[in-house]
Structure formats: structure tokens, C-alpha cells
């Protein structure tokens, strides 16, 4: 599927100035993936906590 012209324009504007990489994990994409994975683990731990001490 072809990108809409506005999406192309926004992508161009956002990428106009290359960003510094994060200090850890190599790229921002990988960093975001780690944050999301960590969040899922937190949800899981909270679920187990709830389950273990349920009434």
C-alpha cells in the first residue's frame, strides 16, 4: 500500500535531523521494545501478585 502524501511529508520532517542513538540498546526502536517488554512483565507480575493473594 502506498503511503499518503501527508505521511510521507511528516516522515520527511521527523527524519530531517538524525537523532543521537540512546546510550543503551543500540537504537531507539530496540529501546522502545525493551520498555514495552518490561511493561508486559510488570503487568504479568502484578497479575501473579493479585492471583497469589486473592481472597
Amino acid at each position: 500500500m502506498r503511503a499518503e502524501p501527508d505521511q510521507v511529508e511528516n516522515a520527511r520532517r521527523t527524519n530531517a535531523h538524525p537523532d543521537d542513538p540512546p546510550p543503551v540498546f543500540g537504537s531507539w526502536g530496540r529501546f522502545y521494545a525493551v520498555v514495552i517488554a518490561n511493561t508486559l512483565v510488570v503487568y504479568l507480575l502484578l497479575f501473579l501478585f493479585s492471583h497469589f493473594f486473592r481472597p
Binding site: R13, D19, D20, W28, V42, L46, F47, S50
Partner: protein, 559 residues
């Protein structure tokens, strides 16, 4: 009453924090220095500052009380936060950073027009200007009742204390004081949880304590109930929470201004991801403190209600006879529940289920007596009664040693002041950058705007402090405006979505889309029962659809 040692700790805190504010903010040479700390802040300082801004005193005492009264399900409201932070890092933050703006709303003029910028900035000033008074007033009332302090002195200490160094030092002073305040809050939280756990009977293991509180359902932190009318569920917290956090962190100047101070885009992003990782664990600790307090009060008799001033009024009222009877029932119920808790703590295997049932029955009986006294107070006052915010401070004053009480008091002051100073600084920035510099004095030396910023901070600080002093009389009016304020959070987010996600949207579309979004949220709140967390989705979606359609049909030149 507060011990002199605790007063000394509080005085040292005020001297230290005002000193840090004045020292770090002494080198303001221009507008970028004063409002954005010369865009030089490291990510960890921004991250701590963001957390401190969000953690008000009522967050600290109210959330602990929530854990005691209602349990830990409140934590689900933060489930959308980490995902919202990632979305912001990928979308709005790069746009703000590269646009080199001072306020989030300035970006809207670059993209749309002046009236969209002015309207969104005005809505921010209206809601934050009034909420600042609440942020000062609410903890002052609680501390004055529990600790017997003068409410007006507390309001002046918090309001004027924060105004002094914020006006003088600008953003750099605000952020470096917030770094210290957040560290004090962290320390206070650890002491709070530690104090409650240490206060439990020696014979009670941590596992047994968790089992007792778990029996009442207070440790339920994940609820998959799909009903959109219920606020504290996984789905409402995740979906509604994402939009709430996107609106707050993406469109509220008091938050946006923090990450605009980053020395690079990477630093700004890191500060938000720092929050994404820490926020839920931090709330977990605060709520767990409240839940453990519930266990503590199985073995130490809690007051029937925690607001001692209201209790004294009740004892002196015509309801005194009814109260005495309820207090007698409460004492009996407490003794029964204490024994049931001891049995439950020692129970093992098949006897545990029986012990749990007996404990729950005793807890319901105690809760009923407490609720009846609360209803009696409500009847006496002709207004609803809630003592959630008084639970934790009452424990601190009653059971903790001198010195530690002072430390926790300081953590409460730090939480209040960190929120106030951020809001004052962002109110001043929006006033000067979006209105004064935009419409009144458009071209003046940098130093002129620094002076104007200081004056605006003092005016806003005075307004918030004065509002807090008269909150008792203005309460319902301020509450009404705050409620209206909640209508436009999601709608403003919709304007930003239009700004960055589509090229066809016009200023006219954004302006009328915003009006339509706010109207839609108002109608939703009046005519539906969905949780308020979903209001932001309604506002955002309506703004995007209406704004886009108007833009398509608008003869205005496209942006």
C-alpha cells in the same frame, strides 16, 4: 502535636530547598535560560522533575489512604503510562524539540494559526491556574487537622516558599529543586513502607500479613472486567490511561516544558522512558504502604474515623448519643476482628478457609460501624464525608518517632511544592510567550522577558496562594471550573494529532474541531456512564474527525 525535632527537620528542609532554588537559578541571562534552563538538562534530572511534578502531596497521602480503604486496584490507572511515553517519544517529542518552541501551544501556531495557539494556551492557563490553588489547599487542610498546625501558615509556607525561588530562578531552579524534592519523596516513601512493616507484630511474618490483607481483596491489582463504566480495570487503565497520559504528557505545558529543557532530543526521550520504567513500581510501593497499614490496624485499634476535627464536632453535636452507641459497636467489632486476624495468621491447610470467612465477617462488621459513623458526620454537615486523605498522616503522627515524623512531613511538603513550582513556572511561560510576547511587546531585549516572567510567576503564585486561603468559600466554584477543565484534555490532544498526523488539517478545522470535541466530552459526561478515563478518547476522536472534515471543506489555505 509535632515534636520540636520534627519542626527543626521541616525548617531545615525549607532553608535547604529555597537555598538550592536561589543558588541554581542565579545565572539567568535570557529568555531561554529562564524558561528552558538553556536547554541544557540531563535526562535523569528531567525524569525526576517530571515525576516530582506529577507527585503532589495529595498523591502521596491520598494514594496511601486509597490503599488502606480500597486496596491496590487504583494502580491500573497507570497501566497506559509506559505505552503513552513510547508513543510520545516516537511522535510529539521530536516535533516539539525540532520546532525549538517554548510552549506546546507555540507549535500549534507554526502548524495552524494564532487563534488555535491562543485558545489552547488560554485553556491551559484557566485549568492550571485554578488547580494550583487546590494543590496548595488540599494538603494544608489535611496537615492542619492531623498535626494541629495553622492552615493559613501552611498555605503561605507552601505557596510563597515555592513562589520565591521559582520567580527568582526560573526553570533551572525549579528543576534542580525538584530533583532534590523527588529524592526526598523517594526516601519518605521507603521510610513510610519500612515504618509500617516494622510496626507489625513480631510474630507476624510478611507472608501472613499479605495473606490477611489479600483476604479482603485489597491486593487485587489486575481486574479484567470489560465494563467501561468501571474505572479501575485493566482495560480502562490501559486504553483510557494511554489517552489520559498522552494528553497530560503531550499537551500540558507543565509537563512538555520539562522535556523541552533536554540538552538533546535523546535526553528528552530518555527522561520520558525513565518515567515509563519507574512510575508503576513507585505507585505500587505507595499503595502497598496503604495496604500494609490495613494489616497494622488489625492489631492496633484505628480511630473510628481519621478526621479528628469532624469526630470532635460529632461528639459535641446532637448526634452524640448515636455516635456513642456506634463507637461501642466499633470497639466490639475491632476486638472480634483482631482475634479473627490472629487466627487467620496462624491458620494452615483446611482451617484457613474457615479462618478467612470468619475474618471477612468481622471485617464487614467493623466496616459497617465505621461507615455508619461516616454517614452520621455527613448528616451533621449536610455534605458527603470521606477521610481517606487522613489515614496515613494520622498513622505517622500517632506511631512514628520524632525525627521520622519530620522526614515524612518534609516529603509531603516536597511533593506539594514540586507540583506548585512546576505549575507556576509553566503558567508564567505560557502567559509571557503565548500572550505577552505574542500580542503586547513583541520585540524587546531578552532581559525584559525575564523580568516579565518573574512578575508573571509572582502574580500566579499570589493568585494560587490567595485562592487557597479562600478555598473554603470558593471551593465549589473552583471545583466546577476544574471539572470543565477535564473536558478539554483529550480535545487538545486531538488538535496535536491533527497537527502532526495530517497535512490537510487547517487552523479553522483545528479550532472548530476543538470546540466540537469539548462539547462532545461534556455531552458524554452528562448522558453516559462510561468512566471519565474514556472522556479523553471521545474528545480526541471527535476533534480529529470534525477538524479534518472542516479542513477538507474549508476554503482556507492549507498548512
Amino acid at each position: 502535636m509535632v515534636h520540636p525535632l520534627d519542626w527543626l527537620v521541616v525548617l531545615l528542609y525549607f532553608a535547604f530547598i529555597i537555598g538550592v532554588g536561589l543558588r541554581t537559578g542565579r545565572d539567568n541571562r535570557g529568555i531561554e535560560d529562564y524558561f528552558l534552563a538553556k536547554r541544557s538538562m540531563p535526562w535523569w534530572a528531567i525524569g525526576l522533575s517530571v515525576m516530582a511534578t506529577q507527585a503532589s502531596a495529595i498523591t502521596l497521602v491520598g494514594t496511601t489512604g486509597q490503599g488502606y480503604v480500597d486496596g491496590m486496584r487504583f494502580i491500573q490507572i497507570y497501566f497506559g503510562l509506559p505505552i503513552a511515553m513510547v508513543i510520545l517519544c516516537m511522535t510529539l517529542v521530536p516535533f516539539f524539540y525540532r520546532a525549538r518552541v517554548y510552549t506546546a501551544y507555540e507549535f500549534l501556531e507554526q502548524r495552524f494559526d494564532g487563534k488555535t495557539r491562543s485558545l489552547t494556551s488560554f485553556l491551559f492557563l484557566l485549568s492550571r491556574g485554578l488547580s494550583d490553588a487546590v494543590v496548595i489547599y488540599a494538603p494544608s487542610v489535611v496537615l492542619s487537622i492531623v498535626f494541629g498546625m495553622d492552615e493559613k501558615v501552611l498555605i503561605l509556607a507552601i505557596g510563597l516558599g515555592a513562589t520565591i525561588y521559582t520567580a527568582f530562578g526560573g526553570m533551572r531552579a525549579v528543576m534542580w529543586t525538584e530533583v532534590w524534592q523527588m529524592l526526598i519523596i523517594f526516601l519518605g516513601m521507603v521510610f513510610c513502607l519500612g515504618s509500617v512493616v516494622v510496626g507489625l507484630p513480631d510474630s507476624l511474618s510478611l507472608g501472613s500479613a499479605l495473606r490477611i490483607v489479600g483476604t479482603t481483596g485489597r491486593l487485587a491489582t489486575v481486574d479484567f472486567n470489560p465494563d467501561p463504566r468501571v474505572t479501575y480495570t485493566f482495560w480502562t487503565g490501559l486504553v483510557g490511561g494511554i489517552f489520559l497520559m498522552l494528553s497530560y504528557f503531550g499537551c500540558d505545558q507543565s509537563q512538555v516544558q520539562r522535556y523541552l529543557t533536554g540538552s538533546s532530543l535523546a535526553q528528552s526521550r530518555m527522561s520520558l522512558l525513565f518515567n515509563a520504567l519507574l512510575k508503576i513500581p513507585m505507585q505500587f510501593i505507595i499503595l502497598l504502604t496503604g495496604a500494609m497499614l490495613f494489616v497494622f490496624y488489625q492489631f492496633e485499634k484505628p480511630p473510628v474515623v481519621f478526621n479528628r476535627v469532624e469526630l470532635a464536632k460529632l461528639e459535641a453535636s446532637s448526634h452524640a448519643g448515636q455516635y456513642r452507641e456506634l463507637a461501642r459497636q466499633y470497639d466490639e467489632a475491632f476486638e472480634e476482628r483482631r482475634q479473627a486476624a490472629e487466627t487467620l495468621a496462624a491458620a494452615d491447610g483446611p482451617s484457613e478457609a474457615i479462618a478467612q470467612t470468619e475474618f471477612l465477617a468481622a471485617d464487614v462488621k467493623l466496616g459497617r460501624a465505621r461507615r455508619d459513623v461516616g454517614e452520621l458526620i455527613a448528616e451533621m454537615n449536610g455534605a458527603p464525608f470521606n477521610d481517606t486523605n487522613y489515614v496515613f498522616p494520622t498513622f505517622v503522627l500517632t506511631y512514628l518517632p520524632a525525627g521520622i515524623v519530620g522526614l515524612i512531613l518534609v516529603a509531603i511538603f516536597a511533593a506539594a511544592m514540586s507540583t506548585v513550582e512546576s505549575e507556576l513556572n509553566s503558567l508564567s511561560t505560557a502567559t509571557i510567550v503565548d500572550f505577552y510576547k505574542r500580542y503586547v511587546t513583541t520585540s524587546a531585549p531578552d532581559q525584559h522577558y525575564v523580568v516579565a516572567g518573574r512578575i508573571a510567576t509572582v502574580v500566579w503564585g499570589g493568585f494560587a496562594t490567595f485562592g487557597a486561603l479562600y478555598m473554603g468559600r470558593l471551593g465549589s466554584a473552583i471545583e466546577a471550573v476544574n471539572r470543565i477543565g477535564s473536558f478539554f484534555y483529550g480535545s487538545i490532544l486531538g488538535v496535536f494529532v491533527l497537527a502532526i498526523a495530517t497535512r490537510r488539517a487547517t487552523g479553522r478545522g483545528a479550532f472548530w474541531g476543538l470546540a466540537a470535541g469539548m462539547a462532545a466530552v461534556y455531552l458524554t459526561s452528562e448522558y453516559s456512564e462510561i468512566s471519565y478515563l474514556y472522556y479523553n478518547i471521545v474528545g480526541c476522536v471527535v476533534v480529529v474527525i470534525v477538524g479534518y472534515l472542516i479542513s477538507l471543506s474549508s476554503p482556507e489555505k492549507r498548512a
